[in-house]
């Protein structure tokens, strides 16, 4: 005989899971108890939301499904924001939650919450398991759904009696057969042909690269495509890292908080090729204006994204890597040199000049310098707020990655995501950049970092205000700073030290860079607190 909890653990082993991020509770005890006897590492985070964020960082770093676990009721509910954050950024997650006994479901017993109901609109799929014998199929399907097509979180809610229930023997299904789930991964040949014709006819093409390029592992193919054609590239926030930041063909991030040159290029183009990008409102504020003068080829694995936000001339549904392969087979196109010159000119002309304040760290140039000092494959985790924009626009990525909560904009993402990333890629430099606001949303995770001895470097941009909204208030609310002044921020250096983590303050770029040198040499975690002037703007 084999118990439900044992089956759950065996399923994880079958799926090659090595780490789960979680927090225990009464009705998930059978599962954790079984897990304890195995090679699968359980990382105890300090709040469930961070379990989901850490699993997200882990998933992104390894291109593998991340697993987070919580108990019923408050545990599951705390995890919601992390699940929704993963959903918006198409991150493959399995969220396992304990649930109260199935025979009392719906009676509002202690720590009961309808978590499958609550998560319905931001999971790719969810299961409430009603029979122990269903567990192998459910897990097999869940991993398949989370990791294929457009990836996303799948929730498995398992009542405690289902975990305790026993069946004769465990067999893991070899094949998945979900009748209503068959994602198309190859572009339609006719559409590929039409797309090529449209590219040939264009004089001012631009490629907008989004997270889908990274998700599908299409980065090398993508680079081949742009090298062959010479088409200039802009990226969305999720697409940062596809191109090395200093590549002459790369103009930068587009959008309301992006590079002006990138937006001007898009608005002057006669052809926009959207690659795994969903044209979110922060990326393109007025898609109707753009399509007035440009044709749009939209390549995405999710047909529902095509035409949702921007009118499309040629839709291509498929996995980015396959579609690029299909396009590369026949393409014979060189971007007109006049257009390339024009774009390069814009890029120079609109190079932003950072404003400096004496006695403070100027964050944009510091991030540029710091990201130049780390190793090529470094993982930069940016939080949400001004710090995110500073990183997005100034990080000098070579072959590294950029993790942030792009779609949902969830504050507190960077530190737990960095934990996941470091556990996934122990040999890479992992840097979390956050503000003093966002850091305080997940600073409890310093404990996890200390316990797991994770060599993560945390940069806190300390300006004692909630900078992004503060800036908004400057622009649109007559500088009335309603509820954006933090007034008291803890002494972050002492705080870190109390966890046994080294830390230091910097009040100038020279000082910050000097400290960074030493910080990067050490194999221990470090918190670098940069005093930043509250008047520093995001762009």
């Amino acid at each position: 005989m084999i118990s439900g909890a044992e089956i759950m653990v065996k399923c994880l082993q079958k799926e090659g899971v090595e780490i789960v991020f979680g927090y225990p509770g009464a009705v998930i005890c059978p599962f954790f108890d079984e897990l304890h006897n195995t090679d699968i590492k359980a990382v105890l985070v300090r709040q469930e939301q961070n379990a989901a964020h850490a699993a997200s960082g882990y998933a992104r770093a390894l291109s593998k499904v991340g697993v987070c676990v919580a108990t019923s009721g408050p545990g599951a509910l705390n995890m919601i924001t992390g699940i929704a954050t993963a959903y918006m950024d198409s991150i493959p997650l399995i969220a396992i939650t304990g649930q109260v006994k199935s025979d009392v479901l719906g009676r509002d017993v202690f720590q009961e919450a309808d978590i499958t109901g609550a998560c319905e609109s931001f999971v790719k799929h969810s299961y409430l398991v009603k029979d122990t014998a269903d567990l192998p199929r459910v897990f097999r399907e869940a991993f398949h759904i989370a990791s294929t097509g457009r990836p996303g979180p799948v929730l498995i809610d398992v009542p405690v009696d289902i975990q305790q229930g026993e069946i004769e023997e465990f067999t893991y299904p070899e094949k998945v057969n979900i009748i209503g789930y068959k994602p198309s991964v190859h572009g339609h040949p006719m559409q590929i042909k039409r797309a090529l014709e449209m590219i040939y006819a264009s004089e001012r093409p631009v490629i907008c690269a989004g997270g889908g390029v990274l998700t599908s592992g299409a980065k090398p193919k993508f680079r081949e495509f742009i090298e062959k054609t010479g088409i200039p590239v802009v990226s969305t926030m999720m697409g940062i890292g596809i191109m090395p930041s200093d590549d002459p063909q790369y103009i930068g991030m587009l959008g309301s908080h992006g590079r002006k040159a990138a937006n001007i290029t898009v608005h002057n183009a006669d052809l926009i090729i959207l690659c795994g990008a969903r044209v979110g409102d922060r990326a393109v504020a007025s898609p109707d204006q753009v399509v007035e003068h440009a044709n749009v080829i939209h390549i995405d694995i999710d047909p529902a994204e095509i035409g949702k936000n921007m009118k499309t001339s040629i839709p291509i549904v498929g996995d980015m890597r396959n579609v690029l392969n299909q396009l590369l087979k026949d393409i014979d196109y060189k971007t007109p040199s006049g257009w390339i010159e024009q774009v390069t000119l814009w890029k120079k002309e609109y190079e932003p000049v950072p404003d400096r304040f004496d006695g403070y760290v100027e964050p944009k140039s510091f991030i540029a310098d710091l990201s130049g000092m780390v190793r090529a494959k470094a993982i930069m985790c940016a939080d949400v707020g001004q710090n995110q924009i500073w990183c997005a626009n100034n990080c000098r990525l070579r072959d590294g990655r950029f993790f942030t909560s792009g779609g949902m904009g969830t504050m507190g993402y960077s530190v737990p995501a960095a934990i996941g990333a470091k556990l996934a890629r122990p040999s890479r430099d992992v840097i979390a950049v956050c503000g003093d606001g966002s850091f305080q949303m997940s600073m409890n995770e310093l404990a996890t970092i200390a316990v797991e001895k994770l060599n993560i470097k945390i940069i806190i941009m300390r300006n004692t205000v909630l900078g992004m909204v503060h800036e908004l208030q400057d622009k649109f609310y007559g500088s009335r700073y309603a509820v954006t002044e933090l007034e008291t921020v803890p002494d972050f250096v002492s705080l870190a030290q109390s966890y046994g983590i080294e830390a230091a303050y910097a009040s100038s770029n020279d000082e910050a860079l000097e400290l960074s040198k030493n910080m990067l040499k050490s194999d221990k975690p470090f918190v670098l607190v940069c005093n930043v002037h509250p008047g520093t703007t995001s762009i």
């Binding site: 319905e120 609109s121 409430l128 759904i145 009748i179 209503g180 789930y181 529902a304 035409g307």
Partner: protein, 163 residues
């Protein structure tokens, strides 16, 4: 414009809420939603009448297709399907009016399913347009209550075969 969508779904608990949740979340306006098991007990069919332009209906189709237990989505175009709705209509009816209402019922092919001293209840299974005609005719007598199932629709084989 009104569109009729026919959606095949796996017959699992929770599927209805997954589909209906979509409408509120994506701000789709639906007129009616009828669900029932098909010839295959593992599969249910939902017939949805939705209001919107082409963009809205295309989005609705695509979003429905993303729901994992949704097997197939078809939007019917005019003339290629037969649609019916069952309704029960309770009308005020004084004894001397009974003959008039019975005449309307006969004319419209509605069935009288209940009669009391002051009311008469009709059962009517037809298209929405015919339903509106019937209620227009009954309005002068005073409609007390209407219960409708929502539209169900099936493809016309005569047309499918010709294709």
């Amino acid at each position: 414009m009104k569109y009729t969508l026919s959606v095949l779904v796996e017959n699992h608990p929770g599927v209805l809420s997954k589909v209906s949740g979509l409408f509120s979340r994506r701000a789709f306006n639906i007129e009616s939603l009828a669900v029932g098991i098909t010839e295959d007990p593992n599969i249910s069919r939902m017939t949805i009448v939705a209001d919107g332009d082409e963009y809205v209906i295309e989005q609705l189709e695509k979003q429905l297709n993303k729901v994992i237990p949704v097997i197939k989505v078809r939007t019917y175009t005019n003339g290629e399907f037969i649609s019916r709705e069952l309704s029960l209509i309770k009308v005020s009816c004084q004894p001397k009016q009974r003959v008039d209402i019975m005449a309307i019922a006969e004319l419209m092919e509605a069935k009288i399913v209940d009669v009391s001293v002051n009311t008469i209840t009709l059962q009517f299974a037809d298209t929405i347009e015919r339903f509106e005609t019937l209620t227009d005719l009954l309005k002068p007598y005073g409609i007390r209550e209407i219960v409708r199932t929502g539209t169900v629709a099936i493809e016309k084989d005569s047309i499918a075969c010709r294709k």
